[in-house]
Amino acid sequence: MTPSLGTHIAFGVLAAFAVLTGWRVFCTDSMVRASFFLLLSFIAVGAIMILLTAEYLGVAMFCMMAVEMMVMALFMVMFMMNPAGLNPMKMVHQERVAIVVGVIAFVVLSAVAVLSEFPDAPLPAEHVPTISLGRELLGDSMLVFETAGVVLLTTMVGVVVLSSRRGRYGCADDGSMPPGLEPGGEPAGQPSEEEGEHTHHHH
């Protein structure tokens, strides 16, 4: 595959966009906005994948990440006191270390990319990525496919057990049903004395 000039330009723009939005994620006050910046970064990377002719992966990335980041934004709203960043805030710790580690990681990885020799074996011309992926999934890598299915089922069950209150694994938090409504009334959360038992269910 020999990319044309247009592809090079497109890649440059998308790469800059991906890095910029990726960086904005961590310096935006509004948490919701941060999740959608991350979505933009993912979309840029997805577009680069399409440029690399991995069309299905790129488009799947749009689809998957739109949903994931939507959920991410919802959880931001659920957990953050200041989800819209009306007051600027910086909730970071060990920032120096983190910056240094981040830069080191970047430098080392880029050095590897620049210095090492990779075999130059581009895609065959008549390659159809989606079909080959499908054949692979139903052929040699059947096991991966099956495993993924089972793991995802486990995830579903795990998610339900962990996040749903009426879990069958006991009344993990009986007290929370139904949510209390009187302001300042009896808290509906987990009473503290049952805490040990409660966490036991989840770990």
């Binding site: 247009g6 497109a10 577009a47 399409i50 440029l51 299905y56 799947a60 689809c63 998957m64 949903v67 994931e68 939507m70 959920v71 919802l74 959880f75 709203v77 659920m78 957990f79 953050m80 006191m81 989800p83 819209a84 009306l86 989606t130 079909i131 992926l133 499908g134 054949r135 999934l137 139903l138 496919f145 099956e146 993924a148 299915g149 089972v150 995802l152 089922l153 995830t155 579903m156 069950v157 998610v159 339900v160 057990v161 996040s163 749903s164 209150r165 009426r166 879990g167 069958r168 049903m177 139904p178 949510p179």
Partner: protein, 115 residues
């Protein structure tokens, strides 16, 4: 090329939509503060509307992520379905079984009822 076309359509329409909003708004007076207060039928709010919001359907959203990932495996499968015949059918059986178990379990646990 297809990507370029898509991007053009997307950006051009985005620009059009933005222009449609921006052009007529140029000469207009800036809304005053009372005008900008959220509409509550004459009532007034104490605070900003953005707050920590209890999204009661959150278990459903987590379930959806797992589900959707599973769907991502299905698209390539659909392409070779007819070609692979019986094996693909078996695959589909397993896939749907997994999903059904997931749904039935989640339903039983009341995930789709908002809490």
């Amino acid at each position: 090329m297809a990507l370029l076309t898509l991007t053009t359509v997307l950006m051009a329409t985005l620009g059009l939509g933005w222009l449609l909003q921006w052009l007529p708004a140029r000469g207009q007076p800036k809304p005053t503060y009372p005008q900008r207060a959220p509409f509550l039928g004459g009532g007034s709010p104490d605070t900003h509307a953005w707050n920590r919001y209890h999204i009661r359907y959150y278990p459903m959203t987590l379930l959806l992520i797992a589900f959707e990932m599973e769907m991502m495996f299905m698209y390539p499968w659909a392409v070779v379905f007819v070609e692979k015949g019986a094996m693909a059918v078996m695959e589909m059986g397993m896939f749907l079984a997994i999903l059904s178990v997931g749904i039935v379990y989640a339903w039983r646990e009341g995930v789709f009822r908002w809490q």
